[in-house]
Subunit: 314 residues, 2 copies
């Protein structure tokens, strides 16, 4: 993936350089230049190469996917009132909310302009772009609701996170010349990986090493954020009549005993359950990859990436 990231960084740098001056475009360059893992555009290139295409031929679409991802970050940060993104002020803080709304809109248009070469790419992109919006809408709705079922939560993270990995791979596969069946299998591999990735993220909040994650341990729990751990924790607690989580949630967030919450979640078996879920998606992802009729060596880069994403400690 390192070579891919280099290609992508060069393309992003070149694109930012060529932007006209002014407050419509400056926030795009600002956000794109914050260091990121560039997983989604790398998946576009890898999806293309898997089927024998050249990474260079998918660079426009890879950039388009990264623009789309950054458009969602710009708008989500307004909606979530997040002051920081990757340790730097968010666009609506550094400029203002109006600038972030409008620059995000224009960034979505810019993303689309890179998706017009193939009708299939255009269709895949549009379908998933809409699902990402639906995911964000569910996420906001869940915050306001008292109760969220775990199936609803999974449906939300599927849309909000997993489908963009799916579409990145499918777009790359399309450019690489894959047939529809193989393309969809590869997309499904990405979607399972995305779900596993998000669940790993949820787990790391409570059980990760803060020196590696760079985040406060149990920050999501302190904020009462409805992640897999809290949602399943509350469901399990109701079954066994444990009141620990309810008690802590009833307190103001600064008074919550986060260690006690983490212990309860562990004892309720939710940590193990999340690990099992991750393993299930991991297996499902690899089965999809197995089913694609190509020699195994070609699939190695994707397997390595999946491993890195899922076994990460941060």
């Amino acid at each position: 993936m390192a070579g891919h990231v280099q290609l992508i960084e060069a393309r992003i740098a070149q694109w930012c350089e060529a932007l006209p001056p002014g407050d419509l475009y400056a926030p795009m360059a600002y956000l794109l230049r914050l260091p990121g893992k560039r997983v989604r555009p790398a998946l576009v290139l890898m999806g293309c190469e898997l089927f024998g295409g050249r990474a260079e031929d998918a660079l426009d679409e890879a950039l388009g996917i990264e623009l789309f991802h950054n458009f969602t970050l710009m708008h989500d940060d307004i909606m979530d009132a997040s002051p920081l993104r990757r340790g730097e002020p968010t666009v609506h803080v550094k400029w203002d909310a109006n600038t972030a709304i409008l620059s995000g809109d224009a960034m979505l248009v810019k993303a689309y302009q890179l998706m017009g070469k193939s009708p299939d790419v255009f269709r895949i992109f549009g379908r998933y772009a809409l699902e990402v919006c639906e995911g964000q809408q569910l996420d906001m709705e869940f915050e306001r609701r008292d109760e969220v079922h775990v199936e609803e939560y999974v449906a939300m993270i599927r849309r909000k996170t997993a489908v963009l990995l799916n579409s990145s791979l499918q777009i790359g596969a399309t450019i690489g010349g894959a047939n529809v069946q193989d393309r969809e299998r590869l997309g499904s591999f990405g979607e399972h990986m995305g779900l596993a990735f998000q669940l790993r993220d949820d787990l790391l909040d409570a059980f990760g090493d803060p020196t590696k994650t760079g985040k406060q341990k149990g920050g999501d729990l302190r904020n009462g954020k409805k992640t897999f751990l809290l949602i399943r924790g509350l469901e399990r607690a109701a079954e066994v009549r444990s009141s620990v989580l309810r008690e802590e949630l009833a307190k103001p967030s600064e008074e919550r005993d986060v260690r006690r919450m983490i212990e309860a979640i562990d004892q309720l078996g939710v940590r193990a359950e999340a690990e099992a879920e991750i393993a299930t998606h991991d297996r499902a992802a690899h089965l999809e990859l197995d089913a694609i009729g190509l020699e195994d060596a070609r699939k190695e880069p994707l397997r390595t990436l999946a491993e890195r994403l899922l076994d990460r400690a941060h």
Copy 2:
């Protein structure tokens, strides 16, 4: 145009009916169902018919243009903090700003989904979509600036208003089978018409009949809004050393003598200048239409529409 509007209204109603439930989609239907003139989608259909196409074949793209226009209204209303749209609460007031941001984003994606049938349509739409964002950005920037030159103002309204009429006609013309030269001529006709229309709008604020416009006379002047009248008024006042406008602008808006401002603008020759500008764009528009190699009868509906738009009293 009446038949076109009927076709469009039916398509909009059908589209709204088919939307999934939930707060992502409900604001789209709410905004689309507010009564509107549907000028832009009608132009798509008229552009198509001018070159011998059937209106029905351009209905998807006409709907796409109306979705795009409503997406810009939804986001502009947040940015301008407007409480009302066509006499009803704006989306960010009826729901909230986050819902308006996200529903607008999804509406832009939905608009794009209707623009994928032809690569030419896709390209025209994308280019103009970006210019509309640039126009809104300039509009917001001008509000913060002390001085705006009239050329800058015209460049702003060109992007913010006129290019969408241009692209509506060009998209219709493309579907109708026009050659590139005729298509661009028709687009240019729309752009001149759009500029004239906006200048007429500026004039009506000060010199229209409030019983017909339904707006407070001189509302823009009271708010110090930088329209053609105020920008050119201040330029002309500096030339002839008239201090009326400066004096009034120095007062708090509720104490401004709007009648005195209107009188000054008239005496400075700015009313006549705006009328002359409108006439120039009107002539230019018709010259473009003349140059299209089709029999005159086919062009009649567009000439009638232009007349209605420019000679309107409200």
